[in-house]
Amino acid sequence: MALVVNEEQQMLKESARGFLAEHAPISEVRAQRDSGSELGYSPALWGKMADMGWAAILVPEQFGGLAFGHVGMGQIIEETGRTLTASPLISTAILGVTLINLAGSDSQKAELLGKIANGDLTLALAIDEGTQHSPANTKMSASKQDGEYVLNGTKRYVIDGSSADNLIVVTRTSGNPGDLKGISLFNVNSDTNGINIERTNMVDGHNSSIITFTDVHVDENSLLGEFDRGFRPLSTALDVANVHLACELLGIAQESFDITLKYMKERKQFGTLIGSFQALQHRAASWWSEIELCKSIVLKALQSLDEGDAKSPALASIAKAKLCEIVELSTNEAIQLHGGIGMTDEYDIGFFIKRARPAQMLYGGYSYHADRYALISGY
């Protein structure tokens, strides 16, 4: 397949850009933060996104979806990176849909996917337990008692945890932390007795919660996928999520660059535009080159997801690692090249670094993915 964005995908990207410029400019990010928004995103905006069909893009047609594929979805996510728009797209329309589609029974798919496609159901993945992403080290327990499961444990940094209707909970049902076998997934209503959700106040203002499960009883139908064999679909879904996070980071990196390049052509010091200084030109040129590499690897990883080829896990890790590295460069250079104004809250550039770091760490940062890539490669 040619490594280009085709016409249909390009149209989707442009329509996303137009929609976000109108309904979710960066001033909305500031407004959300200043109002101390509990959800961390605008429910009205989410409704409009669902009306645009964005929640349905990855949902198969037989469940009321558009089945437009990852390259298409990736174009939208990249644009939400440019505008730093918070929404349930990653947790619900990407991770939730992928997990249910991979692991869910026919009745679970029929029940859940249509609702997601319409924007009537939101999900959150309750996975990490420590401060570092490490899915195989899941400790949280789920034990079988009288035809029910009882969940006990704590999940940390659950994105959309305080707003989602349902939680998909990653638990250990056998074996020890570190084992890939013995992991089971549950689809649990957030209002179930014994669930305590505490919203954090993170640097990006997104809702990310600490969730405690104390003797939470759920019925057998809550099991999502095979008992003890949840790691496989989970791992695939995390690859999907990481590629889309890489898309978001690509949007952040590009917008940080574009804003800074524009500033270099306006700002004068020593009687001349700072963009005329060779020291800064070389930094900008090298930075731009890195972003070109990012565009290529992200597109490659998205295409690989659509083709479902065996290289997807390696490409997902390469893409996430490379984007983590370059978004870090981008957001740091953006502030430095702006000088003092880049440090002020009044100017928007600071919002980019604040969204980038949580998105980098979510489901594994540079070291996690470089390490995972090396292991996949046999070293």
Binding site: Q278, A284, W288
Partner: protein
């Protein structure tokens, strides 16, 4: 059967009949390449036979028009030829700056007479070319070149010094930039001219590099007579052609960041050399370095692929040759730094019986340092990106 399918079968048959067995084995060193020309010593009869047969067919320059000795193939047919050659592991029949550089420039800018005179001998491997661009005081600032071509009526008289002339001591003809109007603005007074290296006053002298080899010369021009009909394009308009050739050269050099599909990955070379324990490389810091390089190399390979595909689809600026040249050469330098560490002290033996492949690694590693200098330094590439793409003045 489609035309392309029958072309494939014909090609396969022809290669089967005409490619000597010894030319179906990979080259051991870069010295095994066939360069042709008046001064070349063929390594074997097969090497000459293979060059002659392919040259006769025009397949040393497959897409050039048949009227100039080329193969007259379409892009699709050329691709098939490459695939069929790869299928039997056929060597390239001819390495040639004539085919890579001055030939394409002549096709684009040369007069009919120049094309008729020079292209067929290039195709047949009879004349080997070298490039006279850089000067001791004009490297990155190429347009600052000072070698003169003074108008003597029916000819130009050339004087000056060229440097970094690849294989200048082995080449038969030079394509050379001369300042023909000293009063014009820098880029405006330059002409591209052609002359025989046997012309009186042309003296090439090899330069030994830090890598031990001498692929380059400095070439002295002392009252060299250049015929006026050997000016490519218009007099004083040579800079446009020079820039065209530089872009072409950048694209060739930029490709070196890409390691061939057949060659071993950095990761597997590291495993071979250092070993693993529980699936992890035995040197954790090097493991990080190797992984980081492989991640960057994968992203770079995709970028070369995307640039190619976007060009085919007629999309946007895409990644330019300047970016590919800059990133590709820097990546290649990093690769050899890491390879050296992976190989350890064994790779630092310069030559002799105790060395591996006569110090190939150490010599190649040192040679890569020139990658980000030749064809325009990395810093010049960054200038081009800043000015032409980012619009920074």
């Amino acid at each position: 059967m489609s035309n392309l399918d029958s072309f494939r079968l014909e090609t396969r048959d022809w290669l089967e009949d005409n490619c000597p067995e010894t030319m179906r084995k990979p080259m051991k060193t870069a010295d095994d390449g066939c360069w042709g020309g008046r001064n070349f010593t063929f390594k074997s009869e097969d090497q000459k036979l293979w060059m002659d047969r392919m040259g006769e067919k025009g397949w040393t320059a497959p897409e050039w028009p048949t009227e100039y000795g080329g193969g007259g193939l379409s892009k699709a047919q050329h691709k098939i030829l490459k695939e069929e050659m790869a299928r039997i592991k056929a060597r390239s029949p001819l390495e040639s700056f004539g085919i890579w550089m001055i030939g394409p420039a002549l096709l684009k800018f040369g007069s009919e007479a120049l094309k008729q005179q020079h292209l067929p001998p290039i195709v047949r491997g009879e004349i080997r070319w070298c490039q006279g661009y850089s000067e001791p005081n004009a490297g990155s600032d190429l347009a600052g070149l000072q070698s003169k071509g003074v108008d003597m009526g029916d000819h130009l008289l050339a004087n000056g010094q060229k440097v970094w002339t690849s294989y200048g001591d082995k080449a038969d003809w030079m394509f050379c930039l001369l300042r023909t109007d000293p009063d014009a603005k820098k880029q405006m007074g330059i002409s591209l001219v052609l002359f025989d290296m046997k012309t009186p006053g042309v003296k090439p002298k090899p330069i030994k590099l830090i890598s031990g080899s001498s692929p380059f010369c400095e070439t002295f021009l002392d009252d060299v007579r250049v015929e006026k009909d050997q000016i490519v394009g218009e007099i004083n308009q040579g800079w446009t052609i020079a820039k065209y050739l530089l872009t072409h050269e950048r694209e060739m050099i930029g490709g070196m960041g890409l390691t061939g599909a057949g060659s071993k990955t950095l990761g597997s070379l590291a495993i071979d050399s250092l070993g693993t324990t529980f699936g992890r490389l035995n040197d954790l810091f090097l493991r990080t370095e190797v992984a980081k390089w492989e991640i960057d190399a994968a992203a770079f390979a995709c970028t070369a692929e995307r640039a190619n595909d976007e060009a085919k689809a007629g999309q946007g600026v895409g990644a330019t040759s300047a970016m590919l040249k800059y990133y590709g050469t820097e990546l290649n330098k990093r690769r050899f730094e890491t390879l050296l560490k992976v190989g350890g002290s064994d790779e630092l033996i310069w030559d002799g019986d105790l060395s591996k492949n006569d110090g190939w690694m150490a010599k190649t590693w040192l040679r890569t340092k020139g990658n980000s200098i030749e064809g325009g330094t990395s810093e010049v590439q960054l200038n081009i990106i800043a000015k032409n793409i980012l619009g920074l003045g």
